[in-house]
Amino acid sequence: MEPLSGPGARSSPTADETALDSVQFGEDIRHLISVPTENASSFTALLELPPNQAVELLHSPESTRPDSSQQQQYQPPQHFNAGLLTFPTNAALIERAAKFSVFAAEEDLNNNNNNGIGSPETNSAPSNSSAGLHKVVKTEPAEPVAYLNSSSVASDPTVATKDENQRTNNKRKEREKKGKGFSKKSKSAANENAEQLPYVHVRARRGQATDSHSLAERARREKINARMKLLQELVPGCNKISGTALVLDEIINHVQSLQRQVEVLSMKLAAVNPRIDFNLDNMLAAESGSLMDSNFPAVMMPIMWPEVQPNGSRQQYHQQQWNFDVVPQPAGGGWGREDGHNFITPENSLLSYVSSANSASLNSSQLKMEL
């Protein structure tokens, strides 16, 4: 992400890569448009990206951008290709998705500047005047994204030196409009995109079988391996181990230890002095009174097992019980199990103790933030 890196950093893509990726481009566009659902979790989206490719594709557009304002007149086709190249593996955009709106806003500002002050400037001054160049350079990083959607604009990169500036201005406006829309759906779309990727990328090397079963099997194995690698990074002390069996062992141990910890902690909480009461319920009631009728009982009845469902009275029961617990009197609230014990006033409740123990202020929101 260094937009000011010199022209020497430019890395031009090789020809076959370009061809391959432009083939995949259409397919990815179809994925983009057809299914913009939030289907993939971001960490699973991350893993399908081969790291070196991700790095390369993250950096190549930025490194191509800065000097392209100068070279735009000379080689626009390559410029276009470079913008296109970033797309198929644009799962890398997931991290940058949050920044797009910022870029768009920045671009908006710059564009306003250009329109207000700079319209004579852009007409009169050539593109290598320092002020204009800086503006162009600043706005560059959003461009490859914009190119993806505005294919009609990008499809005619003709060579014209005179009204180049005017045209880039116009282009930028269009891109900006589309870029904003793109930034909204880019996250889910890119996730979807990344979910589809391994099937696209599977290719048989020399000496490998090429029938569909072998290819599918290889794709499956690669997916499993990638996920395994991610899991390996997640589980502590599992980084240096190689070998599926050992990694699985470590994972099993980790899960078991976590489950045991849950056991121990619940034991500890059960054995805790029942005089202690929590007024977290009041806090909950204050902040979300609608929680009781929103989704908890509904969640209790999963879709997969429909015989659990027809239980409308449960919700009412729950609601009544909530009202009984929280609204009329504070004495029965708290832990549910530990009712009937004396209620501790909010001054010496759990929250104040926790916060005083942590030497923070006596604020329930702070506890929540800490959690």
């Binding site: 899991l231 069996a245 994972i251 899960v255 056991e263 059960a270 202690i276 319920d281 959690l371």
Partner: protein, 174 residues
């Protein structure tokens, strides 16, 4: 699938739902205050259900967990007909010893590692709730990822709560 649990918001949600689940448990079956084991079970049950419900049925393990525990939540109103038990993949098959020996001899080197991996995958499948229902290894690993993240958040919240209640107890004594 929803995005993975973001730590702070996930924990907050979990805490909320946990308290709700505790209330629900308490009112469904009144527990003797001195029975520590029962109370522990209640706490654990409610915590698991809360953890699963925070994921909101987006993942396989959460659905399986809720389904597993849903019977214990319906003490008063029993379901009319029980769901058929999930198919078991792990039957112990009775085989002739000779055949086993021969098979080991013939392809020992190749399949030994694979067998180990298979065995461990089976163990993992038993650990992750709903793992028996997944016949795909990739989805199993994905679910495991999600489950581990959620478990971590749960353990963290519980630990904080335990520490806090310890603090309160100490202060009450003093």
């Amino acid at each position: 699938m929803r995005p993975p649990p973001n730590s702070s918001s996930f924990k907050r949600e979990f805490l909320k739902k946990w308290l709700l689940a505790l209330q629900l448990c308490n009112h469904n079956n009144n527990i003797n205050k001195n029975d520590v084991v029962k109370r522990k079970n209640t706490i654990k049950l409610s915590a698991e259900i809360a953890m699963a419900s925070v994921r909101n049925g987006a993942t396989c393990w959460s659905r399986a967990l809720i389904a597993k525990h849903s019977s214990s939540f319906h003490v008063t109103t029993k379901p009319r007909h029980m769901p058929p038990p999930p198919p078991r993949h792990y039957k112990k098959r009775v085989r002739c010893k000779k055949i086993i020996k021969r098979s080991r001899r013939c392809c020992h080197n190749r399949s030994a590692a694979a067998a180990v991996v298979r065995r461990k995958t089976a163990v993992l499948r038993k650990l992750v709730p709903g793992g028996e229902l997944m016949d795909d290894e990739a989805s199993l690993i994905r679910e495991t990822l999600d489950y581990v993240m959620s478990l971590r958040a749960q353990v963290d919240v519980m630990r904080r709560l335990a520490r806090a209640s310890d603090c309160v107890a100490m202060c009450n004594i003093v």
